[in-house]
């Protein structure tokens, strides 16, 4: 469980509150500069907020953006770092994982490929057997194969331990099959926070002729001379002249990001049109 209340970091976060239940794989999405890294750094204690609180159950492990490691250390020394600096440490898990990935323990970290470095960073985090794992843009700068491998490792660890995960990304499609909770951060504010299936079920795309007026909670959309198309929240409109279709995660995130004043937060549930 991660709970953030009234978080403010000068110039970067404005009154952020969100709650991610235990064992969820949460996606933190938003454009570059939205404050994703700041939010994650506050959650893991790298930044002390000006105001607000962060509560999280159990141990949190963090994999920072660009997966920083000590280049001059060997892989084995990197594991020793983890073992020496943490009370809980599963050396067998770490060595077994690296052996499975074919990463030699005596190689210097600086001589590994980007994908291998990402795996070493992930191993360092997983071997701590954390209750929560926080990852900042774990897939950035990785080739498609390495992305798949990292996600596979991650999901398999989730299946095994039931730990909660929070992943930030500015590419929504990376997270479609892996996340079950969505947090949208835009310009330092939390815009959306909720279960992905509930969110998808609670929104729809309505398309109809231009003369109709729509009585629904509109998140965003467009109107042309021939037709109008809106992403709306809440129950479908009964009028048969409107065509309704389900929304995808991409549509949902884009619609909210384009309308910064719209919000879908837990406290708003039930007030929809």
């Amino acid at each position: 469980m991660i709970e953030v209340t009234g978080l403010r970091v000068r110039g970067r976060l404005r009154d952020c509150s969100l709650h991610v239940p235990a064992g969820r794989v949460a996606a933190l999405v938003g454009p570059n500069g939205a404050g994703k890294t700041t939010l994650l750094h506050t959650v893991v204690g790298l930044i002390t907020p000006d105001r607000g609180t962060v509560r999280a159950t159990g141990d949190i492990a963090f994999v920072a953006q660009d997966k920083p490691l000590y280049d001059s250390f060997t892989v084995a020394e990197t594991l020793t770092l983890g073992r020496r600096l943490n009370r809980r440490w599963d050396q067998r898990l770490a060595t077994a994982r690296l052996a499975e990935l074919g990463i030699p323990l005596d190689r210097r970290v600086g001589r590994l490929s980007g994908g291998q470095q990402a795996q070493v960073a992930l191993t360092l985090a997983l071997a701590r057997r954390p209750d929560q794992l926080v990852l900042d843009e774990p897939l950035a700068n990785l080739d498609p194969l390495a992305r798949h491998e990292v996600m596979r490792s991650l999901m398999s660890a989730v299946a095994e331990t039931g730990m909660g995960v929070m992943i930030s990304s500015h590419v929504v499609s990376d997270l479609v099959d892996t996340c079950d909770w969505l947090v949208v951060l835009n310009a330092g504010r939390v815009q959306v926070s909720g279960d992905i299936e509930d969110l998808l079920a609670g929104h729809r795309m309505m398309t109809g002729p231009p003369e109709l007026t729509l009585t629904a909670t509109v998140v965003g959309g467009s109107r042309t001379e021939r037709e109008q198309s809106w992403l709306v929240r809440g129950a479908p409109v009964a009028d048969p002249r409107w065509r309704t279709r389900a929304v995808g995660l991409d549509d949902l995130v884009m619609a909210y990001l384009r309308s910064p004043e719209a919000a879908a937060l837990p406290r708003l549930t039930g007030v929809q049109a």
């Binding site: 398999s156 989730v158 299946a159 095994e160 479609v176 099959d177 892996t178 996340c179 079950d180 995808g248």
Partner: protein
């Protein structure tokens, strides 16, 4: 045994794809009562998807009475679907194969073939 795969461009949600693939296997007889479904971990290892999605698909199948979860052991097929027996399947499959060969000899491409089959299924149902 069943090999799950994902069609990421299909627009069908991941959990529904898993449910459909199990049902398909039950219909074709590749999964039979008593068979064990892969564990969530195994599916996740294969597809790199959220384990909750697999569990959700299995819960859905369980709700429909097709599989049953035995704590600590795994998820097992409870019953198969489709009216036909395995013998019927073999017989029908043979005649369909003969039909496909005839269609190909008549110069139909695979797409024509699918279209024709779909049209006939709809006609007969109506």
């Amino acid at each position: 045994m069943i090999d799950f795969h994902l069609d990421r461009g299909s627009g069908v949600s991941t959990y529904l794809q898993l449910v459909q693939q199990v049902k398909q296997a039950l219909r074709l007889g590749t999964l039979r009562p008593g068979d064990q479904l892969p564990t969530a971990r195994e599916v996740v290892e294969l597809l790199a998807i959220n384990p909750n999605t697999v569990l959700k698909a299995y819960r859905e199948l369980e709700r429909e009475g097709l599989v049953v979860g035995r704590p600590g052991m795994g998820t097992f097929v409870e019953r198969s679907i489709g009216g036909a027996t395995l013998a019927d399947h073999t017989r029908l499959r043979a005649s369909l194969s003969a039909w496909v060969r005839q269609a190909r000899e008549a110069g139909l491409a695979d797409e024509d073939l699918h279209a024709l089959f779909g049209a006939v299924v709809r006609e007969v149902a109506a």
